[in-house]
């Protein structure tokens, strides 16, 4: 029993941490830059596909950099569409996402599935490296923790620098950014490049961890990550930037944990996306209704009474 629970926890932790990189990406684009980046799904798959192809060709470490690099390019395109070509930010995400579907299949050589069963990945490298040490059995977790910790530290540091402040202000009040002699188009581009490189990294790690890429690996990722982000916000509230970033990672883990437990209770795996949709709805609509509640109550009382309650 205990081992089952521990096993479940470990799986949830690993998958949660991998997707937490996407949650951190949305933390940057959605919470900071105030852009709902709908190219997230495609970018996640892009990272997975490029990472897989490069790893299969025999470069496990390079695959990480390659995935992050193409993620950056994809983010840059999304940002250019909305800052330089007058396309609405939601729409530019959708457009890039649609285009990426073809790009991803092309990268995977026309196949919709790539297998990495005998491919050297960062995980197999870590396994050989940690063989015999006390960390040996947990090699997968070690890899993921390293990446997430690095992302967390770098992102928190970055958001406190001048450029980071400018990115946060862009989501808050672009007029003010402009009057500080900073071009908001520039900050949007930098922000989306960084966030998409994290998304692609996340996809790359998931593919290497499960040793295969399917072209649908990223579908629904934006909702899942948003759900995790909002769960994290519920836990951590509106604290400092560092605290909120940790909250984002925590949210990803909690989301996975709840989901893993639900699977135990025979919830079919395909329900994941419905669950994530419902969580996002509750997390966003909840506070809205809470705020409106006094108004609803007054309207109800008024309709019951003399209309003047």
């Amino acid at each position: 029993m205990l081992t089952t629970i521990l096993g479940l926890g470990a799986t949830a932790l690993e998958l949660g941490l991998i997707s937490s990189l996407t949650v951190l990406a949305l933390f940057l684009s959605y919470s900071m830059l105030n852009v709902c980046d709908l190219s997230t799904d495609g970018c996640f798959t892009l990272g997975a596909a490029v990472g897989a192809v490069v790893a299969i060709s025999g470069h496990p470490y390079l695959s990480i950099l390659a995935a992050m690099g193409v993620g950056m390019v994809s983010g840059c395109i999304t940002a250019l569409l909305q800052t330089k070509m007058g396309i609405d930010s939601l729409l530019s995400g959708i457009i890039v996402n649609t285009g990426l579907y073809s790009v991803n299949i092309a990268i995977m050589g026309g196949a919709s599935l790539l297998n990495m069963n005998r491919t050297e990945t960062v995980f197999t490298r870590a396994k050989t490296l940690l063989e015999g040490t006390f960390l040996g059995p947990q090699y997968r977790l070690v890899v993921v923790v390293l990446f997430v910790a690095a992302a967390l530290v770098l992102l928190t540091w970055f958001l406190k620098t001048r450029l980071g402040l400018a990115i946060r202000a862009t989501g808050n009040n672009p007029d003010m950014v402009r009057s500080s002699s900073i071009n908001p188009a520039f900050t949007t581009i930098v922000g989306l490049c960084l966030s998409n490189s994290l998304t692609a990294l996340s996809g790359c790690l998931l593919a290497q961890s499960q040793k295969s890429v399917n072209v649908t690996i990223g579908s629904g990722m934006v909702t899942i990550a948003l759900a995790s982000l909002l769960i994290g916000r519920a836990f951590m509230g509106k604290g400092s930037i560092g605290k909120r970033a940790v909250g984002a990672v925590l949210g990803a883990f909690v989301f996975r944990l709840v989901y893993t437990i639900a699977l135990r209770f025979n919830l079919p795996a395909y329900m994941l996306k419905l669950v994530s949709s419902v969580i996002v709805i509750i997390a966003i609509a909840g506070p809205y209704f809470k705020k409106r509640f006094p108004e609803f109550r007054r309207i109800r009382q008024a309709s019951k009474g003399d209309g003047n309650a």
């Binding site: 007029d175 003010m176 500080s180």
Partner: protein, 261 residues
Amino acid sequence: MLELIDVCKTFNAKSIFEKVALSHFDLKVNDGDFISIIGANGAGKSTLFNAICGTFLTDSGKIILDGEDITFKPEHKRAKTIGRLFQDPMRGSAPGMSIEENLALAAGHGGWLSKVSKADKEVFRERLSLLGMGLEDRMRQPVGLLSGGQRQALTLLMSTFNPPRLLLLDEHTAALDPSTSEKVLELTKKIVEDNKLTCLMITHNMQSALDLGNRTVMMHMGKIIYDVEGEERKGLKVADLLDRFREAAGRNLDNDRMMLV
């Protein structure tokens, strides 16, 4: 120092909504001038500021600041030398960020990846204390918690943190209650004097248009219809301004937003 030569701007050109906002507009501002700008709604006052700031490109004409032709310079680059305050106190600062972070962006020195240093914070604290609003003890609080007057004062501090060559005030006290408005106006006067800023101020308060600054400009239909300074301005009363408007525009200056006293 600032010169607008034959500047034109028409909105919705060639449609039934066509609106000539600036019509062959000429203005020469001297170094150290403090000009109050008055005029009815739609006279083109805010359009003038937008043209100077580069919010849009003018249809024709030239804008020269300190000898440099800035007609085609992008807005964010002009912001280095031009500071601007709007009527809406919410427009000049980022509500979700702390006072300190807002000031750090406005101060704007250091590289992209530099952080706010202890010394910077000390300077911020010192400058904030000059506002006399106790903001220096609330530096880590989000700006969204401040009142309109406090936010406008903070915006004033932010836009003059690195003294700009030119300060544009677009009815920046109109949304504040009378006593706060008075206070922000006092601060404005002090900051402008201390830094010897060149300043243009749009106002609907005719009295303060005459009290503040050294020159008053009246606009109508995208043109200057009256420009007064020196001795002539000293003896001027609000009633004279109204007469002037009637003479030049051929109608009374009847405007419910205009404060005639």
